[in-house]
């Protein structure tokens, strides 16, 4: 339409007509950038040489027209309009030396870049979709043969397993794994019961060790278990207020007596 990019204002009639045509289609645009790209096509020039000023003008006309026609425009279209109005003023007015920030030309160049990039991506997308596609133009094997996954299980057992198994069977009644053997374990419950029975006689301070049950003092394993259980039981009784505990020094013998003794 525009035969001369500099005579923008004289183009407004054509722009208005174009904008009116676009408005019908406003739902068809994917946002303001898409609309700008479509508008830029009317300039019929290379995107690199596009007049951003003219484009801004066309866009503003479009938004103006939409307002007249009471068409609800999404917020981002209005944000873009505000930004383009700002850009337009920057491009038209002589640069303010005190003004910081990018110049109108820089902003315009970036917008042109964005438009060119979007156009390029659209073209690339079209090229991509125009390629031969699997399942449409070329095909994969129709009867794929599954790779069967063969799981070979090797059962393992060694001579030791075999002998242990046999030993286990032959001594089924007697054989018990060591961990299950509780013969040498004196439980806290046992110790508690024993201490409760004896504590009444302990008016004086008596070594805790003297409360170990008979037959549990010689074998070190048994002795350890009995000591631990008796100690735990003494703590339990002390907590219940039944006895008092004392120890004169680190590692010194622990002594107990009845609490009210």
């Amino acid at each position: 339409m525009a035969e001369d990019g500099t005579r923008i204002l004289e183009d407004t009639v054509a722009s208005r007509l174009a904008a009116e045509a676009l408005i019908v289609d406003v739902d068809g645009f994917e946002g303001p950038l898409d609309l700008l790209l479509t508008l830029s096509r009317t300039q019929k020039v290379d995107l690199r040489k596009i007049s951003i000023l003219q484009l801004a003008e066309q866009y503003l006309v479009f938004v103006e027209k939409a307002k007249e026609l009471r068409i609800e425009l999404a917020a981002d279209y209005l944000v873009m309009a505000a930004w383009l109005a700002f850009l337009k003023s920057r491009l038209l007015l002589p640069p303010d030396p005190k003004d910081e920030g990018p110049s109108g030309e820089e902003l315009a160049a970036h917008l042109a870049f964005q438009l060119e990039r979007l156009a390029a991506m659209r073209e690339a997308a079209a090229k991509l979709m125009a390629r031969d596609q699997k399942g449409r133009d070329f095909f994969a094997r129709g009867i794929p043969e599954d790779v069967t996954r063969i799981r070979r299980i090797t059962w393992s057992a060694n001579l030791m397993d075999l002998m242990q198994a046999y030993a286990r069977i032959r001594t089924k009644d007697e054989f018990r794994p060591y961990v299950m053997d509780r013969d040498s374990v004196y439980t806290m419950e046992q110790a508690l019961e024993r201490l409760r029975g004896l504590i009444g006689y302990a008016g004086e301070w008596t070594s805790l060790m003297s409360y170990l049950p008979e037959g549990w003092t010689d074998d070190p394993v048994k002795r350890r278990s009995a000591t631990a259980a008796t100690f735990a039981a003494s703590l339990e009784l002390a907590k219940a207020g039944k006895i008092t505990l004392r120890q004169s020094d680190t590692f010194a013998p622990i002594q107990i007596r009845t609490a009210d003794g």
Binding site: F139, A140, R141, G142, I143, E145, D146, V147, T148, R149, I150, R151, R152, I153, T154, W155, S156, A157, N158, L159, D161, L162, M163, Q164, A165, Y166, A167, R168, I169, R170, T171, K172, D173, E174, F175, R176
Partner: protein, 214 residues
Amino acid sequence: MADDPQTESLFEAPPLGEQERMVEAILFASAEPVSVAELNARMPHGADANQALSLLTKRYDGRGVHVVRVGEGWALRTAPDLGFLMQKETRETRKLSRAAIETLAIIAYHQPVTRAEIEEIRGVSVSRGTVDQLLEMEWIKFGRRRMTPGRPVTYVVTPGFLDHFGLESARDLPGLKELRAAGLLDNRPPPGTGEDEDSDNDGQDDMFSEGEPQ
């Protein structure tokens, strides 16, 4: 583009080489074997699927893929001798179950032994699966039938078993005394059996004779 060959074909069938390509592509992409009639229907007018098929069959002769006839249709299939390529092997080693190893031990120590005897020794019934597994592993096999009522089958261990466990014969299996010495048995002699258990070959039947498979 897609229509060109068909348009052309109104005038002339495509060259035979081209027909062969077509049959090749159709057979490759089809999910089912394709009949000659269907090939002809799908190819441009004037094409002769039969001729193209025989060319294609020759071309694939000796290749990794063959043209094969399946019922009324034709299909491409990988050469049978390359079937091993279609497998992905994963090896997995698993511990034999306790039931299996115990059953195996009893067979090894007491062979030939019947299932009833195994159950008596283990004190629990022996599942069919356990015995089958051992048979399948070829660690045990059927021995002679026992000449007792019902003529039950017996089980014995195989050379494969001996090989796996590094034994020359089942006689090499350590006896109870050795098991005890090796710490595999409780040190206390089981009540009532005394020290003589290992040499105890008299009163009891051979089921309980110690580690002396014949």
